[in-house]
């Protein structure tokens, strides 16, 4: 029997109810998905069964994980944050500006660090050879960008609105439109890869990947806000998305960076 959207909907609802009950019974709020989240079928064989071993970083400030790889001006080019200018012609689609701040858990900006993005084109097709979705490639759009945060932790990308696309988790599975983000902090422990979504996407309830974040408030933090002040007149629509990196860091290393 092919797995239907209805089957997945029931599983998503059950996972959500289980989480809500755990929290009501006093368990801590979970900001991240559990790696073991069955509605996303690819997770079944790819999550550890053993609990992770906890390392208390306060016991050893010398841990290499408390430092972070460094990136600099030579790791990006000037137009790497403008995905509409990487080819000879203009990509097709609705131009957007996506901007926000990269922060740590204390709300302090993470300066001069690498932010990488990748996304589907406006038709919902990735420029990836294994992508099977029968939607047109755009010769003027690759969908890859990178930038360094500035002294206030700001990043900014110009791109086109990605399209939603089908995938094979179950019959008639569709991913809400999203942009993949990869970030570094001041410590390797803060490493984050995630996806940014757009406001009011009707696909949210059906998608086991966004629903893997079972906490309602946490899930909202993956959704950008439309920001008219970021819209560029006669050019692009603006979205604001701040990112907060989890994970402990050695605050004393950051001084002077």
């Amino acid at each position: 029997m092919a797995l239907t959207q209805h089957d997945i909907d029931l599983e998503i609802a059950a996972e959500h109810a289980t989480y809500e009950k755990r929290v009501a019974d006093g368990a801590p709020v979970e900001h991240h998905p559990r790696r073991d989240y069955a509605p996303y079928r690819s997770s079944l064989l790819r999550h550890p069964k053993q609990p992770p071993v906890t390392i208390d970083v306060s016991k050893d400030p010398e841990l290499v994980e408390l430092a972070s790889p460094a990136f600099g001006e030579r790791d990006i080019t000037e137009i790497d944050n403008d995905l509409t200018r990487q080819h000879n012609g203009e990509p097709i689609g609705e131009r957007i500006t996506v901007s926000g701040r990269l922060l740590d858990r204390d709300g302090r900006p993470i300066r001069g660090q690498l932010v990488e993005i990748w996304q589907a084109n406006s038709a919902g097709r990735y420029a990836h050879q294994r992508e099977q979705h029968d939607a047109p490639l755009d010769p003027n759009f690759t969908g890859v960008g990178r930038t360094l945060t500035d002294d206030e932790g700001n990043y900014r990308f110009t791109t086109v609105q990605p399209g939603p696309y089908p995938w094979r988790n179950h019959v008639n599975a569709w991913r809400p439109a999203h942009i993949h983000f990869s970030m570094f902090g001041t410590a390797f422990t803060q490493r984050l890869v995630t996806q940014m979504y757009f406001p009011s996407d009707p696909l949210f309830p059906y998608d086991p990947i966004i629903q893997s974040v079972t906490d309602d408030a946490a899930r909202q933090r993956l959704v950008a806000t439309y920001d008219h002040s970021l819209s560029v007149p006669e050019f692009s629509m603006g979205y604001h998305w701040d990112i907060v990196l989890d994970g402990p860091h050695a605050t004393w290393i950051e001084e002077g960076r």
Binding site: R46, E65, P69, A70, R74, D80, H128, D246
Partner: protein
Amino acid sequence: MTKIDTSRPESVLPTPSHTVGPFYGYALPFPGGGDIAPVGHPDTITVQGYVYDGEGKPLPDAFVELWGPDPEGNVSTTDGSIRRDPAGGGYLGRNGVEFTGWGRIQTDANGHWYARTLRPGARGRSAPYLSACVFARGLLVHLFTRIYLPGDKAALAADPLLSGLDAARRDTLIAQDDGKGTYRFDIRLQGEGETVFLEFQ
């Protein structure tokens, strides 16, 4: 809800993690990602292995990031791991001279990965190790582990992490010496011989 008001600490909450999905391959990996050691450096080691799922099948759609100190135990603050070409828009690659300590390596179609880096020196109370972070389609939150090198039994026995693990689990964190500076380190995401993964607090 995604404008964070930093004057209200209670509103500064983590952005949730998500899987990298299947299509990062044209975005994140870069040429020479695993060639971390400066060219011809005498302390170069090769680390290689496979990433396996719960059925023992290798993952062709995972990548590993390595992060380690130099042989003296110093952490690099040098950028330039993914130098770009401002003229053509492609990659220049590492310059082969400087050590950045960091690399990103995509598994190949067989699920195999390799890196050439510098033998890590000891830091603090730990035995020498490389930090490794695993990303894959199907993995909703990346996984941290460590690649310890065999050899110095006293240092391994005194390591605060290793000394707290039972023998079978401990061995999943210690690479196998294949001679000539080459080490094998397989990553098993689930099941028999499951690699020890770490969380930091």
